[in-house]
Subunit: 248 residues, 2 copies
């Protein structure tokens, strides 16, 4: 069995390494990428056509904003019957694109491993991965559920829309706050409280991810705009309460 990763950016390199470390030795892990960030040890680099034509399981690790055009260019190059995963941080649009451009010839499972090189530094145990089966036999989905669970991951199944609503108000708001605080130019101080230190760690982690991921999270999650408005509304409410407390 051959498992392929397409896209070796910051997340894709991490994911290829994670797949390699956690699967049986007789499973071959291969990858291809236009701009490889790093090719992890034990992962074989192939040209695109060979990767698509020969993999039984394929993970797309491309930017959300590139994913539709990547799929448009598949033109049946992927091996028939392959199990195809995306790993995008939003799910509604990528799931629609996969169904539209890949269709019935493949087993399609939209997925979101909700961690990355920073958060998985001390292991995978308990980290969540979301699966949204699109066009997949229950048997196959269960097989991958068991596989991911055997790596220590917490496997959660939900619809793309439920994922996007939950994640706009968790991952989405975290990245928005992180980028905003970085924009303020906050820095370390010797009088940092433990709360401020924790906040700075969040700023560092969110800003370690590519800027494109931040834009894509905010742009391609159907609930992101509502979340941002809710944050602005809450800010106004707190400022009003402050004004009232000064007058009172």
């Amino acid at each position: 069995m051959r498992v392929g990763i397409y896209g070796l950016g910051r997340f894709g390199s991490f994911w290829a390494d994670t797949v390699r470390r956690n699967t049986r030795d007789d499973i071959e892990v291969v990858a291809s990428s236009r701009h490889p960030h790093a090719v992890p040890e034990g992962v074989v680099f192939l040209c695109e056509d060979e990767l698509f034509a020969t993999c039984d399981v394929l993970f797309f690790c491309v930017a959300i904003s590139s994913f539709e055009s990547v799929l448009k260019n598949m033109n049946g190059r992927i091996k028939k019957g392959a199990v195809v995963f995306d790993t995008c941080s939003v799910k509604t649009y990528p799931a629609q694109w996969m169904k539209e451009y890949l269709g019935d010839d493949y087993t399609l499972i939209a997925s979101h491993p909700m961690f990355g090189p920073d958060s998985a530094k001390s292991g995978l145990k308990g980290l969540p991965i979301v699966l949204c089966p699109l066009n997949a036999d229950e048997k196959i989905v269960q097989c991958f559920t068991d596989e991911f669970a055997s790596w220590g991951l917490k496997v959660l199944r939900m619809t793309p829309l439920v994922h996007d609503k939950e994640s706009a108000y968790s991952q989405g708001v975290t990245h928005f706050v992180g980028r905003t605080l970085r924009e303020m130019g906050l820095r370390d101080t010797e009088i940092a409280t433990s709360g401020y230190k924790a906040l700075m760690t969040i700023v560092d982690q969110t800003c370690n991810d590519p800027l494109q991921l931040f834009y894509d999270l905010q742009r391609f999650n159907p609930y992101a705009k509502e979340m941002r408005l809710s944050l602005q509304y809450a800010t106004e409410k707190i400022l009003n309460k402050l004004r009232e407390s000064e007058e009172g």
Copy 2:
């Protein structure tokens, strides 16, 4: 030697307990409070007049917004020659009030232990305490510096204004973000990323503190308004970048 704590709210109770646990047994720790949150074991509760008249070292642990009126009512009730500390989370105004209402009869040291019952749960080691000597012999200041250092604290000396500028952009912004996110009604989710979990911990910690502390931090720190404007400006900048990225 008798050490007194005036004000046994959430922080004062914690501080009385901290003083009791970390000082020698022959030092008597006493306290008084209009609305005691808790009287820690080993701390003797006295009436106000006795506390003020008999303590050699006195810590005021009252709300910033009450501190001026508390000092106005001292009328020489504090034992002459006593060493008087405040513990307010802002320093410029409290330092002015202490000099104005207590004057030359006392050793005055404005202070800010930059931790509380949540952040000191696993010990005091490395936690910062800021000292701003106002009217104090260097020898006495050094003696308290050594005492706090012997508890494991990191003792930092600075002017009230420098403290307030640094803390507006660290503790102040943390509390503002914490209260805002709580106002949004964010809650736990099974797909929480590690960053979001850390953010929720900050929200819980900042909102565990009394609401009055939040208002006072924002109102009595001369740099808080500038910090809030800077946060709003950064938010606008990020929103503009998002709009540009969508158009580009």
